[in-house]
């Protein structure tokens, strides 16, 4: 039996689902999705396209009824999907704005949909919070990608939801806009909301308090990014040498090598734990200087995306062309 959500209890789980599954004709869908989210947490859904991230997010948003599984989303049964919850703020990946309406009117619409008290004040505050005051009368369709995404986020958050679900919130944004979005995500969590973010960007995912790694419709691992990296059977190192081509040839057939890529003026290698020492010895024998590097979430995700048989071939071919 799953514990009920208690709005006044800061330790109460906003999301607690167990064994969610959704199948589609001709595709795998998702299966065995179990996860929890508490206030102040940012949970990142990470994985390749088609891994089941968006389907899971939509089930949590009440847009898709799971085929099986149980759980509660901010106090509502995950299987009850007749209407969305006012405690949830959902931002789809695709821009979802009324392009003919002004920035302020788009926000006002959302404030009215959520029946907010003093909607005009809520709109004013959202305009200020998201730096949209100067564009308040501009039609949403005339906004640039970054500003439109900012307006969409403002619209999704206007009702101060407890749970925020964001599907690729930084897709198509420049570096500055991405940074702005992530600051807001951190601020939301800091203010007590729970946030789930779908992202392809593994560097961004490292900013989450926890990540869930998706593959083929299932969560293969979840936890704090540092814990996942530490637990992964991988080692990384930075290699400096004078003859890169000779070095590549020397290590190309090494069984422990997973990737070898340029990293500034050096090369970065990713190996299995077992093969790390032997590979380092080979590299040093070639006159290279080897320095241990931190394993990143991107490394884990990369290995996660490959099956064992694909891994060797793909990595070796990548090693030759890097």
């Amino acid at each position: 039996m799953l514990a009920k959500y208690r709005p006044d209890d800061p330790g109460s789980a906003l999301v607690r689902v167990d064994g969610l599954a959704k199948r589609y004709a001709g595709s795998r869908g998702v299966a065995h999705v179990s996860l929890q989210l508490r206030r102040h947490e940012v949970l990142g859904f990470v994985g390749p396209n088609g891994a089941g991230k968006t389907t899971t997010l939509r089930m949590l948003a009440g847009l898709i009824r799971p085929d099986s599984g149980t759980g509660c989303i901010v106090g509502r049964d995950v299987n009850v999907v007749e209407r969305g919850s006012s405690r949830v703020g959902y931002m789809p990946q695709k821009l979802a704005l009324y392009s003919e309406l002004s920035v302020a009117d788009n926000l006002r619409f959302r404030a009215d949909i959520y029946c907010l008290s003093d909607p005009a004040a809520r709109v004013r505050r959202a305009l200020v919070d998201f730096g949209l005051e100067d564009r308040r009368r501009q039609p949403a369709g005339q906004l640039s990608g970054g500003w439109a995404r900012r307006l969409q986020l403002a619209a999704a958050l206007i009702h101060s939801p407890d749970l925020v679900l964001l599907d690729e919130p930084t897709a198509g944004l420049d570096g500055e806009s991405r940074e702005d979005v992530w600051k807001r995500i951190q601020a939301l969590a800091g203010a007590g909301a729970g946030v789930i973010v779908n992202t392809h960007d593994l560097l961004e995912a490292e900013r989450c308090s926890r990540v869930a790694l998706f593959r083929d419709g299932e969560i293969v691992t979840q936890g704090a990014p540092a814990d996942i990296c530490e637990a992964a059977p991988l080692r990384a190192a930075l290699v400096q040498c004078s003859d890169v081509n000779a070095l590549r040839t020397a290590v190309a057939s090494d069984a422990g090598l997973l990737t070898l890529e340029p990293h500034g003026r050096r090369l970065r290698i990713l190996t299995t734990v077992e093969g790390f020492d032997a590979l380092c010895s080979t590299l040093r024998a070639q006159g290279a200087m080897v320095t241990a590097d931190e394993t990143r979430l991107a490394d884990v995700a990369l290995v996660n995306e490959r099956t064992a048989s694909q891994k060797i071939g793909a990595v070796r071919s990548e090693g030759r062309t890097a």
Binding site: Y24, A61, S86, P92, K94, L95, A96, I113
Partner: protein, 364 residues
């Protein structure tokens, strides 16, 4: 290749467009399935010849009373309504809506020619036209047989409703309903598809909005368009074709939200169920054509076989069309519209239930 037309580019686009079309299987079924269904439907269901049109017969000539039933024997186009009446009964039957054509034959006085009065309810010209033509042929045939050496009777034809001199009146009242139906059906069919394409549908579904709220909010603007359109069209047919606008016309305006709403909701259902614009439009066409052809707008309702009449009886246009003819051409009172509104209301109620269910269908 000439500079004004590059065949390769056109062919590239042709290939892509064809593949897109072929990939939309539901639309393909509708594109090819609908015509087959429609040809069968209209081929078997629609006829220019009405059946069993009610004709009232009255005379004060006992000899004629004996001959009268023979008029209607072996003729499926007309049927005699009620018993043979006395002079004045046939006209009364039309005014009461019991008959569409009334024949009154007076007994000749002295050596005066016999007087025959034909009364016509011209509010449904598609139905009464063939009857009048049949009576005409019948008369001349009989005249040739019996009146060769006598004075032929004097026949007067009086249109109690409608006007034989104004052929536009045959379609004008129905046109109001047809135009409103087409507008509402297609506006409804496009409203959700547009929202999906805009991407706002998904985020709207994630909010606490209820199906009834969404239905009301989304459809009300179009409903207002339907009401305004009805008023404008009634004004147009009055100004352009002199179609009478009796006080009862206000009932047609009052009924417009219900009538427009019925087709708007139906369009909304197609919109909610369709994945593409093409599917939504095909769905609208699938309703629009039967409504046009099986409602009695273009072809006499009584000429259709029972199953086609049953389909036609479900369609709101059939009933709004009858209400329009009753009020505009027959001068019926506003209160007479109730009997026509009930079937429309039943249809609207059913469609509302389906529309709410369609809205509750989520993204899966």
């Amino acid at each position: 290749m000439s500079s004004w037309f590059n065949l390769r580019r056109a062919l590239a686009l042709f290939r892509v467009e064809s593949r897109l079309l072929l990939s939309d299987r539901s639309a393909l079924v509708l594109i090819f399935g609908l015509p087959v269904m429609q040809i069968a439907l209209y081929g078997y269901g629609v006829s220019f010849i009405p059946q069993h049109v009610p004709v009232a017969f009255a005379t004060n000539d006992a000899a004629m009373s004996l001959q009268a039933p023979a008029l209607f024997e072996h003729d499926s186009v007309v049927r005699m309504t009620g018993a043979i009446g006395v002079l004045g009964d046939a006209e009364r039957a039309i005014r009461q809506g019991d008959a569409l054509v009334g024949i009154e034959i007076a007994k000749p006085k002295d050596d005066q020619p016999r007087r025959v009065s034909i009364f016509v309810d011209g509010s449904d010209p598609a139905t009464v036209g063939p009857v009048l033509a049949g009576l005409n042929v019948f008369f001349w045939r009989r005249a040739a047989q019996y009146y060769a050496d006598e004075q032929a009777p004097v026949i007067t034809q009086r249109w109690l409703y409608g006007d034989p001199e104004r052929p536009t009146w045959a379609v004008s009242p129905g046109l109001v309903g047809v135009v409103v139906m087409v507008t509402m059906l297609f506006l409804g069919a496009m409203c959700l598809v547009r929202e999906r394409e805009r991407g706002t549908w998904e985020s709207l579904l994630a909010t606490p909005i209820r199906p009834a709220e969404a239905l009301a909010g989304k459809l009300l603007p179009y409903l207002l368009i339907g009401i305004v359109e009805t008023v404008l069209l009634l004004g147009f047919v009055h100004l352009l074709f002199d179609v009478p606008l009796p006080p009862g016309s206000l009932a047609l305006v009052a009924a417009a939200p219900l009538f427009a709403g019925s087709y708007l909701l139906l369009g909304f259902v197609f919109s909610a169920l369709a994945q593409t614009q093409l599917q939504a439009v095909q769905g609208a066409v699938a309703v629009y054509l039967p409504s046009l052809l099986l409602s009695g707008f273009l072809f006499p309702f009584s000429g259709m076989p029972g199953w086609a009449q049953a389909i036609g009886s479900v369609l709101p246009l059939t009933h709004y069309l009858r209400a329009s003819r009753d009020i505009l051409l027959r001068g019926a009172s506003a209160g007479s519209i109730w009997s026509h509104l009930l079937p429309i209301a039943a249809f609207t109620l059913g469609t509302t239930v389906v529309a709410v269910f369609a809205f509750r269908r989520r993204l899966d």
